[in-house]
């Protein structure tokens, strides 16, 4: 017994030290990005690396990124619009379907659920071409609303939320029905509030996935003023090829706001990923 108590803290200390070392190595690319974004161009590739810049140029670098010839604030606004739009629509569509498939006993429900389940197996990458042709012919190509639709009919979200709606007791719903409430009222006033944490988790995940999505904007947007932050990042890089301090300032700008959202919503994001084992 004594031996165990004595041994255990050592194991923990070693684990902490090993992890801290791994963590620092893991973070080096981020640290390098951050410190380079503050430097003047001539110091970016100066060795030994100045982790804390001696000559600061942060203000100019970030001003160029945010208000220069390709101002990031426009693309930020685009990303915010698309991400919030997708998040809201997707949460609505998925939670309604999840409620329908778990709490309404309708005859077609079972096989309709199978149909939706089957579409889960189709990778979007395999249907890009028909989607593109469809979007061109119905006028959704090169529009934010088109992008929002692409991300809003998530089978994954429906599954995830269905699990939680199934946990809502049928008695609640039956007694509300006896009191004369229809399914829409039951959904809004009873069922949805009961699974609120799950809905919030899914909403954050959907926001992050949409914000980071590259494929859809890349294929379905063409005009520069509509670009999301991911496309802007790529464009900025190709335009400023040799100005690495500027490129790093753009990279920091593209990453940091989302990191802040993640750190704030950390618990629900990590739990959501762990519970659903989900991946965008």
């Amino acid at each position: 017994m004594i031996k165990q108590i004595a041994r255990y803290p050592w194991g923990r200390i070693i684990a902490t030290v090993v992890l801290a070392a791994c963590g620092v190595i893991f973070m080096l690319p981020f640290l390098w990005m951050l410190s380079s974004s503050f430097k003047i161009e001539a110091d970016v590739f100066k060795y030994p690396i100045e982790w804390i810049p001696k000559r600061w140029n942060a203000l100019n670098n970030y001003k160029e990124v945010w208000f220069g010839s390709h101002p990031f604030y426009i693309y930020y606004w685009n990303s915010i619009k698309v991400s919030i739009g997708t998040m809201l629509l997707s949460v609505l569509v998925s939670s309604m379907a999840a409620y329908g498939f778990s709490k309404i006993r309708f005859r077609a429900g079972r096989w309709l659920f199978l149909v939706v389940l089957a579409t889960f197996m189709v990778p979007q990458q395999a249907i890009l071409v028909p989607q593109f042709i469809l979007y061109r012919s119905i006028g959704l190509f090169d529009s934010h609303i088109g992008l929002i639709f692409l991300g809003s009919f998530s089978v994954l979200g429906t599954f995830m939320l269905r699990q939680f709606f199934m946990g809502v007791h049928h008695e609640y719903i039956e007694s509300a029905k006896i009191d004369g409430a229809g399914h829409f009222r039951i959904f809004w006033q009873i069922a949805a509030p009961l699974v609120k944490p799950a809905i919030a988790t899914y909403a954050i995940l959907r926001f992050i996935w949409t914000w980071n999505d590259y494929l859809n904007p890349f294929i379905f947007l063409r005009s520069d003023p509509l670009f999301t932050i991911q496309l802007a990042m790529q464009k900025f890089t190709s335009l400023n090829g040799e100005f690495y301090s500027l490129i790093m300032a753009a990279a920091v700008s593209a990453i940091v706001p989302l990191l802040i959202i993640f750190v704030i919503g950390q618990k629900s994001v990590i739990e959501g990923i762990a519970i659903g084992g989900v991946k965008g």
């Binding site: 194991g11 309404i104 077609a108 309709l112 890009l128 071409v129 989607q131 809003s152 989302l258």
Partner: protein, 305 residues
Amino acid sequence: MSANIRVKGGSMRSLQRREDAAGWLFVAPMLIGTTVLTLIPIVATFLLSFADWKFIAGIDALRWVGLENFRELVDDPKFQRSLINNFVFLLSVPIYMMISLALAVLINNLAYLKSLFKVVFFMPYISSVVAVAVVWQVLFHPSLGPVNHVLRLIGIADPPQWIADPDYALPSLMMISIWISIGFNMIVYIAGLQSIPREMYEAAEIDGASGWVKFTRITWPLLTPTTFFLLITGIIYSFKVFDLVAVLTKGGPIQSTTMLVWYIYEKAFVNLEIGYASAIALVLFLCLFFITLLQWFTQNRWVNY
């Protein structure tokens, strides 16, 4: 009596009809969305893979060619290259799973700072792939980049050109992909570890089991469902890789990083060969379809308790 029953049956039926209507209404948006955006397109992919068609030439130019596209695919060196690269890329999956498991075990044994380490290792996964790829591109810069600077410092006079070098480009992408994927795998492994009952370890300790024995006899077997899940997710994810290729290499240098999704993109949106691109897309779909089926049918055999 009989009248009473009839009334009751009638109201039951109308109740069921109302329930049906509500059900359809609730799932309608989802159904319409998946039908228009997924079901019809996958049928279209299937049909178009038997056609020869340039999109801009209009629908009249569409010609049915039967299996011609697939016959061409078999002899297409770039398609073979893409398929091989996809399979090489798969090797990154077991590598990041092993690293993630090691990190998960370490973090799970910590008393303090657990959530800090979770956030640290999760950061690359949450960051935009485009931004992260651009940062790595600069880090990997052949002459000026910090990676090669360090390599020269430790005595490697002629370090590789990384993403500019046909031999190193694919491994470079795999390294970045490993760095990105560790966070997700680690979080799922930690969740798996936490579901293992503590009593099992306590019982093993009473029997005098060492740390290694506990790992091989308790942790690893009880984690097989998690491992299996991560393996399948990882395989599917690596078949869909596109962002890294599009941002960093565009399939080059000399086709060393071309992969299925990139090749679909190139054929469809650069060469505008819709039929041929659809044939590749169908191959991708079938690959993932069989992996998913494999998962469904072997799932139960993998669960060890």
